[in-house]
Symmetry: C2
DNA sequence: TAGTGGTCTAGACCACGGG
DNA sequence: CCGTGGTCTAGACCACTAT
């Protein structure tokens, strides 16, 4: 099974062979692969070599290992499409409300843990909000779960002078969320700017989001501006990469 | 250095220790880490254990290995911001022209390889284009490089009946690209819909994009609609995750 | 109890890079 | 040439899952 003279490392040959079998449907999503010990016999290589091959497939996100059970072809996860063009005043909702509406549309049980605190703006966030470093900012940290599984982290930061005395500083911001409260306070929102990047999770995110190896995250920073061009909120969101798809509509002219 | 009774695997302890030192600035971006053999001595564990620890850091994308040279803290790459709200008719540019303009703005030397072919629509693309499976589609494959490094793959698909006899079926689509040629042919574009997801690269993408382990890709599907609501183009783009950031502007109302 | 993956060891030889 | 990471071996014991 393994070509010893090709120059291609044995573990890559094993990985390719298994990958091909998976893609050809010989092993379907959710199927169990042969055990490591069986693969040792099948391919005639050592256990370390097999484990390195499996390691590749796990890093690619197409195989998962379950301790004491076996190796499985990763089942496709249901992807949630988030339409980002629905941040309009008419469909008023902050990210939390967004998430709750999304839950309804996709039939999962949502839970949100919120913590609120005040901190001094660091260089990065001061720059993003256009305020002086060291100025007080209100920070809202949210951990969002679907059916008990954490799927999204979000941290909003607003200049404290906009939020003092408003419901924004409470755990529950009320109907319409942060944005509705801001407009009640006289801030007229003009537009949002979303910046989307991807990266592998940090060690802490991997724990919080219960991420298996080989699943990247989407890092979205949404900055909200009012009609005077001032940034009134910076929301940093981290989404499990294999569960979300962000949809944007762009006019052609 | 290693706590043998904590229950935390040795390789994780080694990885955490190195990660902390990197984040604390003890090893800066581009710095060389101690060699594997040195780490064996430093931590008092076997080479396999050290390699497993390094493997974690590589999967996280914070360390790279250079054969014959050593281990290095991955240097931050310059991120290219792509403003996606500039697909307007005024700033007419197909993705290739987009890429060329982007190159100018970011001072890198762009090259684009294009191949054109005709295929029968599969189920997925037929669905995306709203045509019958098996209908002929024009496929434009593009490999885009910056300073010789492949940074983006793009595959456009259009119903053949829209492109027959136009310059769209040539390698060079001319000024303004695909979209300008479509409008010349009487197709009035209305809007684009971009769907953004992230995943680990396939084995082929990893080779084409020369991706080191631990770097995910952004998968963007841009569908362009005309004023009759018909999908006229589906463009599947694959972007190197640690080099791109997509920026979208969303009106507040 | 049996089988699974998780961790770990002490070696070996190879291929690459730079002096 | 020597030091580097890359690949590979033949074991070992542990923790977890299921029967």
């Amino acid at each position: 099974m393994i070509d010893r003279v090709s120059g291609v490392p044995a573990y890559r040959q094993v990985a390719s062979d298994l990958r091909n079998k998976i893609q050809a449907g010989q092993y379907a999503a959710g199927d169990k692969l042969p055990s490591e010990r069986q693969l040792i016999v099948d391919y005639g290589v050592s256990r370390i070599t097999i484990r390195e091959a499996i390691g590749l497939l796990r890093a690619e996100g197409i195989v998962t290992a379950e301790h004491g059970k076996g190796l499985y072809v990763r089942a496709g996860v249901s992807v949630v499409r988030l339409s980002r063009s629905r941040l309009s005043r008419a469909a008023r909702q902050d990210n939390q409300a967004f998430f709750l509406g999304d839950a309804e549309a996709n039939a999962f049980k949502p839970t949100v843990q919120t913590t609120v605190r005040i901190e001094e703006a660091g260089l990065e966030h001061a720059d993003a909000l256009g305020i002086e470093p060291g100025s007080p900012v209100l920070v809202r940290d949210r951990v969002m779960s679907a059916d008990g599984v954490v799927v999204q982290l979000a941290t909003s930061r607003l200049p404290r002078d906009l939020t003092e005395g408003t419901q924004i500083e409470q755990g529950d911001t009320g109907a319409g969320g942060i944005h509705a409260r801001l407009e009640e306070a006289g801030v007229v929102l003009h537009h949002h700017r979303e910046s989307v990047a991807t990266r592998m999770p940090t060690a802490e995110e991997a724990v919080l989001l219960q991420l298996p190896p080989g699943v990247p995250v989407l890092a979205v920073r949404r900055t909200t501006y009012d009609t005077t061009g001032r940034a009134v909120e910076v929301n940093d969101m981290t989404l499990v990469g294999n569960r979300y798809e962000l949809v944007y509509d762009i006019p052609a002219d």
